[in-house]
């Protein structure tokens, strides 16, 4: 499902060269739930960005669902992200001028889907996540847990094969975080979606089938 072959990411910070990933290699099977743990600055988020095609590695190949991302142009890689990847962010990233329903439907806008169909799919997901009564609420009217569930619904709305979750519980209290992790676990089990979780939190990582540790840009 996800294969990384000797992936390196180097960027310059002022005059200094920083290696965010060093010859990282990884293979994740379809339907797996893997947690990536490591200290701050170890390259966890960079790994996710490389897998999502948001960041082009300095060296190495990233193959996701059989597609070498290095070979795709902007249009193809955007289409790939829209179709195959769902994102869950620490700070939810829900635009404040959209309702929960519109936020969930947002990826479908970029897929060129009709409004009626978008709304139907988004509403079904909000229903499934127990947020039907919050559909017309703006993000600031939602609790942290509700906002993150809306964000997860948005990640799922395009039926992606992979969800990349970057510290999804980092901005939530313990109980709410646990609920969010249970939801991700459920999604993984019932829908067979591959989940790559980046976290500091051991408890959150415990929901994953496998935990990988990364330090200074390389898997330990």
């Amino acid at each position: 499902m996800i294969q990384l072959h000797n992936v390196s990411v180097t960027y310059r910070l002022k005059s200094e060269s920083v290696e965010a990933l060093r010859n990282a290699s990884l293979g994740l099977a379809e339907g797996s739930f893997v947690a990536i743990m490591g200290p701050s600055g170890s390259g966890k988020t960079t790994l996710i960005q490389v897998i999502a095609g948001l960041l082009t590695p300095t060296a190495g190949d990233v193959i996701v669902s059989g597609q070498n991302l290095r070979q795709l142009d902007d249009r193809a890689i955007s289409e790939f992200r829209n179709r195959a990847i769902g994102f869950v962010f620490q700070f939810f990233n829900l635009p404040s001028y959209y309702t929960a329903l519109d936020n969930v439907a947002l990826p479908l806008v970029f897929a060129g889907m009709s409004e009626a169909e978008r709304r139907e799919r988004a509403r079904a997901l909000l229903d499934e996540f127990g947020l039907a009564d919050r559909a017309i609420h703006k993000p600031e009217q939602l609790s942290g847990g509700e906002a993150q569930r809306v964000a997860i619904a948005r990640a799922l709305v395009n039926n992606p094969k992979i969800i990349l979750a970057d510290e999804p519980t980092g901005n939530l209290d313990r109980d709410t975080g646990a609920h969010v992790m249970e939801l991700l676990q459920k999604i993984n089990r019932e829908r067979g979606v591959t989940i790559l979780l980046v976290t500091h939190d051991e408890k959150a990582a415990a929901y994953a089938q496998q935990t990988l540790r990364i330090e200074k840009g390389a898997f330990a």
Binding site: P95, V109, F110
Partner: protein
């Protein structure tokens, strides 16, 4: 690929982030457009009015206006000034292309009150023939009071539907079946063939434009001219026969409306008045012009004439012949076209100034559009990063911001066009209102339209297209900046 409708919606949401700036941008675009549209609408309106009220009449190719070539006054080496004489009129009449010939005597409307103090100055332009004699008599004898405050004058016969409103000081339109009014206004007496009076056009006071008469109507007019010739009112003015287009009526000071009276009785009254005035002082043979040492027309000489050609005749050979004889000769169409050219040249200058001013304003608006879009891009960094992460392509993002800039530009242009039309409409109303107060000729007042504002669709389309182009240019740099925002950096707010 984002659907167009969604693209517009997303763009509008982005504009909502900077409402005040967006409003300023729209206003700044609108200001430039208002200047251009207002001036253009007014200029176009004036031109349309000229064409509508003048051109239809003037395109009558069959009428050649002949006048004395005034350049002869300026250069002694040229031929001596030649007046149109009865002999020449007879000669013109003999040409195979000519249907009728007449010499013109113009009579200007007079303000009788002012006339008492300064008879020549108040007559507004030259006045020859019958009125000259009457003015002199009036001015010298001041006997008008005896005539019931009415000066005998030759006036145009106009079956217009008007009534003078004392309160508003204006003439109101009335039911044509009930009101048949006589107005004092400029008239032209024609000495010569009565058929030269034949007019093929009629002015529609409702639509404020000229209409060509149908063949039946022209035939009726011919009949009417023929019958009026056998029923002339006065054959004695200046001792020569006149075919009067106009009828003789009493005339009140200040070009006021007169009540209709039975024409024959009015004529008799006038003849009586004229005789009474003539007894007071005989007409002097010397004309006022001669005091300035210039050769002026004597009896049987005229400064202007009209040559009516047979329908469908090419006027150019006749015009050339008349010019060769030392006259200024022009068809009405030529005269009108050269006048229109002068109008166009003047309008071009006004338009250029307005366009330059509007252009400067639009340039400033362009800068504001650029700045607004740039600010919105800066405010939307996280959203742009999110959109990219969720599948928006660079081109989607670029189009999103270009749509936004074009939307602002077009909205400003539409607002400017609408406000420009409104401004032009009200300015024209105001100008016409002021102009109406200055007009003493009531029929002239009737010809004034409600507005001289006209919509120039081509300019509006050009402005909209131009605004789209300029907005695209203004938005290109910020939109490219947005498209190239690194989603990784944009999303890294923690």
């Amino acid at each position: 690929m984002i659907r167009r409708r969604d693209q517009i919606r997303l763009s509008l949401q982005k504009i909502g982030l900077r409402k005040k700036r967006a409003v300023f941008s729209i206003i700044s675009v609108a200001l430039g457009v208002i200047v251009v549209v207002t001036v253009n609408s007014l200029m176009r309106g004036v031109r349309d009015l000229i064409i509508r009220t003048g051109y239809t009449e003037e395109i009558d190719q069959d009428i050649i206006r002949v006048s004395v070539d005034h350049r002869h006054d300026e250069s002694p080496s040229r031929k001596r000034k030649q007046f149109v004489t009865d002999e020449l009129l007879a000669k013109f009449r003999g040409w195979k292309e000519v249907e009728a010939v007449a010499a013109n005597i113009n009579v200007q409307p007079l303000n009788v009150d002012a006339l008492a103090e300064s008879p020549r100055a108040s007559s507004r332009g030259y006045t020859t023939g019958v009125p000259e004699a009457l003015i002199r008599r009036y001015a010298d004898a001041k006997q008008l009071a005896a005539c019931g405050n009415a000066i005998p004058l030759v006036l145009g016969e106009r079956f217009v539907k008007l009534r003078y409103n004392e309160k508003t000081k204006k003439f109101d339109l009335e039911d044509p079946a009930r009101v048949q009014a006589w107005l004092g206004r400029e008239v032209t007496l024609r000495v010569g063939d009565p058929m030269a009076q034949l007019e093929r056009f009629r002015f529609d006071y409702e639509k404020k434009q000229w209409h060509r008469l149908s063949e039946e109507e022209i035939a009726q007019r011919r009949k009417s001219i023929e019958s009026s010739e056998s029923n002339e009112f006065d054959k004695l003015i200046h001792g020569r026969t006149l075919t009067l287009k106009a009828r003789v009526v009493g005339f009140c000071p200040g070009t006021r409306l007169l009540l209709p009276e039975e024409p024959a009785r009015l004529c008799a009254k006038w003849l009586k008045q004229r005789d009474a005035l003539a007894r007071l002082r005989p007409v002097e043979t010397e004309t006022e012009y001669e005091r300035y040492g210039r050769r002026t027309p004597r009896e049987g000489e005229y400064t202007m004439a009209i040559v009516l050609l047979k329908t469908g005749t090419n006027p150019e050979p006749v015009v050339k012949r008349l010019k060769d004889m030392g006259f200024e000769a022009t068809t009405r169409q030529n005269a009108f076209e050269s006048f229109l050219k002068e109008v166009d040249a003047a309008m071009k200058i006004v338009k250029r100034i307005a366009y330059a001013f509007g252009g400067v304003l639009l340039l400033l608006a362009c800068g504001l559009l650029w700045s607004t879009t740039s600010r919105i891009v800066s405010d939307s960094r996280v959203d742009i990063g999110l959109f990219r992460a969720l599948g928006a392509t660079k081109s989607d993002v670029r189009r999103l911001f270009l749509t936004e800039t074009v939307f602002l530009g077009e909205l400003g242009t539409l607002a400017g066009i609408f406000l420009g039309w409104t401004a032009a409409y009200w300015i024209s109303r105001l100008v016409l209102h002021i102009a109406a107060g200055e007009i003493s000729d009531p029929e002239g007042m009737l010809m004034i339209p409600r507005t001289i504002f006209a919509v120039d669709w081509a300019t509006c389309a050009l402005l909209l297209a131009g605004a789209a182009g300029v907005s695209l240019l203004a938005g290109l740099w910020p939109a490219n900046r947005a498209a190239n925002i690194d989603p990784v950096k944009a999303l890294k707010r923690e």
